[in-house]
């Protein structure tokens, strides 16, 4: 590609909020539940997450989540601990056909209400 073409290509870029495609392993549970369910992120931003799940959860459901900071062969000694609320259920056919994440029955979109990055402890994700 010529330099002039590259300049034109970059000039066409428009500002957008950044989503990160990071297949992070996660566990989650609804408020008050004792059992953890597992899943994997499809993408994640500073404000929310889309993740594969085996079962639907109603929109508005509050969940607690722990996400491991590991992807693409790299692992960091921390986790994301978050409280979130389900905002959307995404039909499976609308999620990528390339299932780089573990197979899942449905994708759930959730908005973070609180989040923090903590050292990963033994027994957690």
């Amino acid at each position: 590609m010529s330099l002039s073409t590259l300049v034109v290509v970059m000039a066409e870029w428009r500002q957008r909020a950044e989503r990160f495609f990071l297949p992070l392993p996660l566990r989650y549970r609804t408020s008050g539940a004792s059992n953890w369910l597992t899943g994997q992120t499809h993408n994640i931003s500073g404000s929310g997450i889309l993740f594969g799940a085996d079962h639907e959860l109603p929109v508005g459901t509050e969940i607690e989540m722990h996400l491991a900071m590991e992807a693409f062969g790299k692992s960091y000694p921390s986790q994301i601990a978050a409280q979130a609320r389900i905002v959307r259920i995404v039909a499976p056919q609308r999620v990528s056909k390339i299932r780089l994440a573990q197979s899942s029955g449905v994708a759930l979109a959730a908005r973070f209400e609180t989040h923090q990055i903590l050292p990963r402890q033994l027994g957690q994700v």
């Binding site: 990071l22 390339i98 990055i117």
Partner: protein, 212 residues
Amino acid sequence: MAERPITVIIADGQPVFRSGLRNLLQADDKVKLAGEARDGEQALALARQLKPDALLLDVQMPKLNGMQVLEQLGPLTEATKILLMADAIDRQQLIRALHLGARGLIPKNAEPHVFQKAIRCVHNGELWVERDVLTEWACGSHRASRTKARLTAREREIVEQILAGSSNRDIAAKFAISEHTVKRHLTNIFDKLGCSTRLELSLFAMQHDLLR
């Protein structure tokens, strides 16, 4: 003097598709089929052993998928031009693949001449992606490479501590600096990376392999 043919390895888990691609490439006198792989582990081994000019790499394969092969090839992607093949791929996954060194994507339902043209293009040093994907990838790479170059050594150390889950107090104690100084460093880092929270910073650092 005749130009040396472009050596190519086909890596695809579907025998019928592999057979069709084999026939196509064997009929092309500008291309030499160097090998075939039926799964990701075989693709990785063959690419490392034979170092072909090009690798046609299916994203979905047994044992190791195409993205995992791409990650593990690492610096070999400089010499071996990798073209992903897929029925469908998420945009962000494709951008991630470009970051890892892939040179483009060929839809598996493309016409035969597209495969031949794509191989020649990437062999000549070009990319084989849609313009808007290229735009997004170029700007992300630009931002990431500028960011890496602009972070100071201490700022990189602090990013590493954030990724380890350390609090401002922990970081201050580790580096024998005040918490105020830690916050000042963080403000500078956020400004440079265009992030506004520790979470965004961590995700950005992971996505762009900032600590490499």
